[in-house]
């Protein structure tokens, strides 16, 4: 019997798991994908919003503002890339200026520090902004985060403290029976006292297993361009358009790894797993981006991707306990990432009303930092290589990632099991060659470290194989 089962290992599931790991609880996290944070949490704008946008009085407003404040300590504890680079919402005409005044009012009500700045100050802060701009709302507490690292770090730390994670396992039914729950999956069944529904786009299915009042989560897709980092550099701040009824609109932003995001679009779709990209949609994204900057350096384009927001008709988060011992954390569209630490705190408080929570004796709230060789001095690097020679062998030449860093990413708790898993944790494959050069090497390292055949290493989920069979003739498989 588990105390708590968390369904879904996106940023909310992982964050709740980590919060619960400090207590003497038996916690299981069940995730249908082959890795944590592989759904909405890995394909979004990677922004920790300041909190001036959500309508005052909503859960979104409350949890965004609090969540934003919690990120400094969280990222320090877990060694996650996070930077408060500041956001600029750009107005290019009088109507948009009115939008900024409205946001300013919102910000005041939400108690978020913002500043209306004129054209001159704007160009001083951000020279890349469009010459059409007439003013902007500056939010200094807005930040950028590495969302892949965040999900992994949260779950790794939770597992360091005893949480169990089952990947590649899909929940097919949840049954409420005598104050406990039976969670059935495609691999087995588990009993627990409480269920936390963090199933993202599929959160409606999970809640509808146990509740008479049905909810519906609608998928709303966002497509993005990703541009490579380059010497001359581009925007330093996150640039937003003035929000409309469709959401925050297209943004142009740096990422924590020095790349640049342009997007997203916003379209309701049918299939909750349709992460395809489309030319007409992306053409429009680019057109929208030109409202923010006069030049988008598309010669540095390295990737397009799509993520899907979990939209609920209330247009707010749904965090409730519709039946005793079953907590919903659904409808977590933007600012879901920004709110996650505050959401976890709220859920923790809700659990306290059901279960007695006693602190574990040996709880560790930090995770061992990553090597991050790129940020090290020559002397520090040399010293580390002398201790672990694999840190000297560079595998990914675009991002200069060493074999030692990849091996470390595999052997930590919540370690990488797939090509995408390695990519998300330490970046080989994120650069200009998109793995064209290093994928073979990464695949071989995964096979060796996991003691698997090379054919059994997948790109991401089950079925996403890379090699189909051995070629004719003699083999020469060595690294």
């Amino acid at each position: 019997m588990y105390d708590i089962i968390i369904i879904g290992a996106g940023v909310n599931g992982a964050c709740i798991a980590r919060n619960l790991s400090k207590y003497q609880l038996n916690v299981l996290v069940i995730e249908k994908n082959g890795d944590v944070g592989d759904g909405t949490s890995c394909a979004n704008s990677a922004i920790i919003h300041a909190g001036y946008d959500p309508h005052p009085g909503t859960l979104k407003a409350e949890l965004n503002v609090l969540g934003n404040q919690m990120y400094d300590e969280l990222c320090k504890d877990l060694d996650v890339e996070f930077e408060r680079n500041g956001a600029l919402t750009i107005a290019t005409n009088e109507e948009e200026m009115q939008g900024l005044y409205h946001l300013l009012e919102n910000a005041k009500a939400n108690n978020v520090k913002v500043e209306l700045i004129d054209k001159e100050k704007l160009f001083e802060l951000e020279p890349h902004v469009t010459k059409k701009a007439i003013g902007a709302l500056y939010a200094p507490t807005s930040g950028i985060i590495n969302p892949f690292e965040l999900c992994v770090a949260l779950m790794e730390n939770a597992m360091d403290n005893g949480v169990q994670l089952n990947l590649n396992e899909k929940v097919i039914e949840v049954i409420s029976e005598n104050n406990t729950y039976l969670v059935k999956t495609d691999c087995g069944e588990y009993k627990c006292k409480m269920v936390i529904n963090c199933a993202g786009l599929f959160g409606d299915e999970i809640q509808n297993f146990v509740c008479d009042e049905k909810v519906e989560i609608l998928p709303r897709k966002g497509e993005y361009y990703l541009l490579d980092h380059f010497v001359d550099g581009f925007v330093k701040h996150t640039l937003f358009s003035v929000p409309s009824s469709k959401g925050k609109g297209v943004l142009v932003s740096p990422t924590t790894s020095g790349d640049y995001l342009v997007g997203p679009s916003s379209d309701f779709i049918e299939d909750k797993e349709d992460i395809s990209t489309n030319k007409d949609v992306l053409d429009n994204v680019l057109k929208e981006a030109y409202r923010l900057v006069d030049n988008v350096p598309m010669q540095h384009l390295i990737r397009e991707f799509a993520g899907i927001r979990a939209y609920h008709k209330s247009n707010d988060f749904i965090i409730n306990e519709p039946t005793a011992g079953f907590i919903n954390v659904i409808g977590m569209q933007s600012p879901g990432l920004s709110s996650a630490p505050a959401v976890a705190l709220k859920v923790e408080n809700m659990i306290m009303k059901n279960l007695e929570l006693k602190i574990r004796d040996n709880y560790i709230k930090t995770r061992r930092p990553l090597y991050r060789l790129k940020n090290k001095s020559i002397e520090e690097r040399d010293k580390l290589i002398k201790e672990n020679p694999l840190l000297g062998r560079i595998i990914c030449r675009c991002e200069q990632i060493s074999e030692g860093e990849i091996v470390d990413a595999i052997h930590r708790n919540c370690g990488a099991r797939t090509i995408k898993g390695v990519k998300k944790r330490v970046r080989p494959g994120y650069g200009k060659c998109q793995g064209g050069y290093c994928q073979t090497l990464v695949l071989k390292i995964l096979a060796r470290e996991l003691n698997k055949d090379m054919k059994d290493i997948n790109f991401k989920n089950k079925g996403s194989y890379i090699l189909c069979e051995e070629s004719k003739g003699e083999k020469n498989v060595k690294l």
């Binding site: 380059f230 990209t277 040399d382 290589i385 200069q400 200009k432 050069y437 890379i466 189909c468 051995e470």
Partner: protein
């Protein structure tokens, strides 16, 4: 800190050739740095033949060609280090290097960058659709097959008629895969004519000119692709879609010189070749840093890479002996009508004869290449055929010229 006269970054065909060129011109303090565990670079995975036809009048395989030159390097006792990656070059010609032995600084009097090229990816050409596995560059599939011994798929389509794509069409077929076709965006092929014949026609693999992949379909592994005809502005032509059920899509959509080290140093880059801008000695905008091979501009044949490497090695040895190479008076060389790029970008008048490499932007039949100096035709040569896939060269006398501007252009007859 280690000191050398010349450090060469990259132990592939260009790097080895430049080391040999420098050595044979008297230089002895040379170090070649190679990130892989073996010399020869990309040649090692190119197990087909056809290498060395121009230099040796023989049809060698890639590994044989590589071995021949690696042996020349070893015969001369030129120092090289394997599994060593240069992380950074500084303006004072120091380099930060990483290997299993440690991280250290090496200083040189001159550096040759021979870092090869990278394949363009799906992301760079923004192909629409899902993101399953089974979509990869042709070179990656080639490495899996020829070095690691694994086939990446059984039903294959190829986008782009670059040479690696054509070579892989044949190679996958010989390994038992079914190659259903090759789509090329342009109305003509971008590969060598011999590869079109020997890799596609001989195996009855259809080539769809003026076609591209419109959509990639598949949840986990590639299931299907849709190709579509394109018009002369690269827009999809209505109702020309064809579906292919395939598990693999190989991309052969171009090569880009791989120069993050030079870019980070602030070396001036050529907007067209994506490699550094070089002068007639193949020196970049940063004094003492030279470039050659596919890291400078993408070549058609390795034989030409070797020739360029030997030339640059020789020039660099002169540079080290004399402390400089630069001349007083130059003519600048520019690409004009119908010319994609010219290389180098300037030539010293005291060299007497300018040797220029160039590519055309589209195929031409019966045309003239004109060399125009300050508005007047200096030289004009007749060309029966010109293809973008085939690099051309031209020589002309510049000894009587003064500083000024030379433009190359192609004019149809």
């Amino acid at each position: 800190m280690l000191n050398y006269d010349l450090v060469i970054i990259g132990g592939g065909s260009a790097g080895i050739a430049s080391a040999i060129g420098a050595y044979d011109n008297g230089l002895r303090s040379i170090l070649v740095l190679e990130k892989e565990a073996y010399l020869g670079g990309i040649l090692n995975q190119c197990i087909h033949n056809g290498f060395g036809l121009h230099l040796f009048n023989e049809e060698l395989s890639g590994p044989e060609y590589a071995e021949r030159f690696a042996n020349e390097l070893i015969k001369r006792n030129i120092e090289y280090r394997l599994e060593t990656m240069v992380l950074k070059i500084n303006k004072d010609l120091t380099m930060v290097c990483s290997s299993v032995n440690g991280c250290e600084i090496i200083k040189a009097k001159a550096i040759i960058c021979a870092t090869g090229c990278t394949e363009r990816t799906r992301g760079a050409i923004a192909t629409q659709g899902d993101r399953p596995s089974g979509v990869m560059t042709a070179g990656l599939a080639q490495r899996y097959l020829n070095i690691e011994g694994y086939l990446v798929g059984k039903k294959v389509f190829i986008l782009g008629s670059g040479d690696i794509g054509l070579i892989m069409a044949r190679r996958m077929t010989l390994e038992g895969a079914k190659v259903l076709g090759v789509a090329e965006l342009m109305p003509y092929s971008n590969g060598l004519s011999r590869n079109i014949v020997q890799c596609l026609q001989d195996f009855n693999i259809p080539l769809y000119l003026s076609h591209t992949v419109k959509r990639i379909i598949g949840k986990n592994r590639l299931e299907k692709i849709v190709i579509c005809e394109v018009d002369n502005k690269n827009n999809f032509v209505l109702n020309t879609e064809k579906e292919f059920e395939v598990d693999t899509l190989l991309l052969s959509v171009g090569l880009i010189p791989n120069n993050p080290l030079l870019a980070n140093l602030g070396v001036k880059m050529h907007p067209r070749t994506k490699g550094p801008i070089v002068d007639d000695n193949y020196e970049t905008s940063v004094p003492g840093i030279f470039a050659c091979g596919n890291g400078l501009h993408v070549h058609d044949l390795v034989d030409f890479v070797t020739n360029e490497g030997i030339y640059v090695g020789k020039k660099v040895s002169e540079y080290i002996k004399n402390g400089k190479l630069a001349s007083e008076k130059y003519v600048t060389i520019e690409a004009g009508n119908g010319i994609s790029y010219v290389l180098p970008s300037k030539f010293a008048i005291d060299k007497g004869v300018a040797e220029i490499k160039f590519r055309v932007t589209k195929p031409h039949q019966k045309s003239h290449i004109n060399v125009i100096y300050n508005g007047e035709i200096l030289k004009s040569i007749k060309k029966q055929y010109l293809l973008p896939a085939e690099m051309e060269d031209i020589k002309f006398d510049i000894s009587k010229l003064d500083c000024g501007n030379i433009v190359l252009e192609v004019i149809d007859d």
